[in-house]
Amino acid sequence: MHPESELIAFVRGDLPPAERARVAAHVDGCSACRRAADESRVVLEALVAGAPAPPPLDWGRYQAELRARVAASRRAWWRRPVPTVLAAGFATALIVFAVHGLPRTPSDVVTMEETVLGARLPLLQQYQIVERLDMLEDLDAIRQLDRLGGAR
């Protein structure tokens, strides 16, 4: 089996001694790997020699910009620009809404009671014990109706 993936590390002298000896022994006896190693060496040397350089930078300006970025990151949150504070406030409101939901109003409670009442309506119609509508305001009494219905 050809040591293909080890070949670059072998060419660059970046293999541990035992592995290096094993790959070297293979390369000595395998013309395909020897050729691959030679060609890889040429490619790597060409890459080093012909590496394009980046456009030059004004390092003084670079360092000044970096210092400004560091200073901005250190600034206390209340001294940061308004949009940041607004965004933080909006995010907090969203989290509070996600955790607690909207605050319940009395009308919500009435709606819930009406829903419970509606669900029990067929049962209520069967009981003569329900004589006064005032009783319906007591949710506990309504819940007891289930048990009464089962006992009947």
Binding site: S5, L7, E39, G50, A51, P55, L57, L66, R69
Partner: protein, 205 residues
């Protein structure tokens, strides 16, 4: 011992890791020394990965900013340079990933800036045959264009190996993968470039 003496000692003798410990304690002078020591390599690596001078400047500064913010989290398990390269390479790879889709089909090569001179001007050997130099320049340009087409991981592994002279084990730490994976990246990258050079030489002959 005056302030100036301390500054000189920081510049000439202090290791990166010691400087980083001082940065964690918000020592501005130590941070300046650390930046001055690594800014050139950081910018060059970012540019090699992105081929955009503005992005390279911005992301290399961002990498230093993260060093400043997270200096206290450095545990000393790797060299500072390895840790720093990891931050920088991750930023660059994330940036490429987020890039607009049409940028993937556009190769921007600022290395061909006429004011800086092309590969020919940067090569030694003024006594060589101009025709040979021209052929070599074309070939090298072709090879580096092929580097642009490598996958981001292959390209990062190759640049860290060839340009920054990092060992396979260090590249594995930077890219957060195994040494075996790095070797596969390098093998595939160099194989692709060998094919390009082979085609280039046969076209020239």
């Amino acid at each position: 011992m005056g302030w100036l003496t301390t500054e000189v000692a920081l510049t000439q003798e202090t290791s990166d890791e010691t400087l980083l410990a001082r940065v964690a304690a918000r020592d501005e002078a130590a941070f300046d020394v650390l930046v001055a020591r690594h800014q050139g390599r950081a910018y060059r690596l970012a540019w090699s990965l992105l081929r955009d001078a503005e992005d390279a400047r911005d992301l290399s500064q961002e990498a230093f900013l993260r060093v400043y913010r997270t200096a206290a989290s450095f545990r000393g398990e790797a060299k500072f340079s390895t840790w720093f390269y990891r931050i920088l390479v991750n930023l660059c790879l994330d940036h490429r990933r987020r890039g607009r889709w049409w940028q993937r089909f556009t190769v921007r090569d600022e290395g061909e800036d006429p004011e800086r001179g092309g590969l020919l001007e940067r090569q030694p050997g003024a006594t060589a045959d101009p025709a040979d130099l021209l052929g070599r320049e074309r070939l090298m340009a072709q090879v580096w264009r092929e580097v642009e087409r490598l996958s981001p991981q292959q390209r990062a592994a190759l640049l860290l190996h060839v340009q920054e002279d990092l060992a396979t084990s260090e590249i594995a730490q930077v890219l957060a993968c195994s040494e075996a994976t790095v070797r596969v990246h390098l093998h595939r990258a160099v194989s692709a470039l060998r094919k390009t050079m082979g085609r280039g030489q046969s076209d020239a002959s």
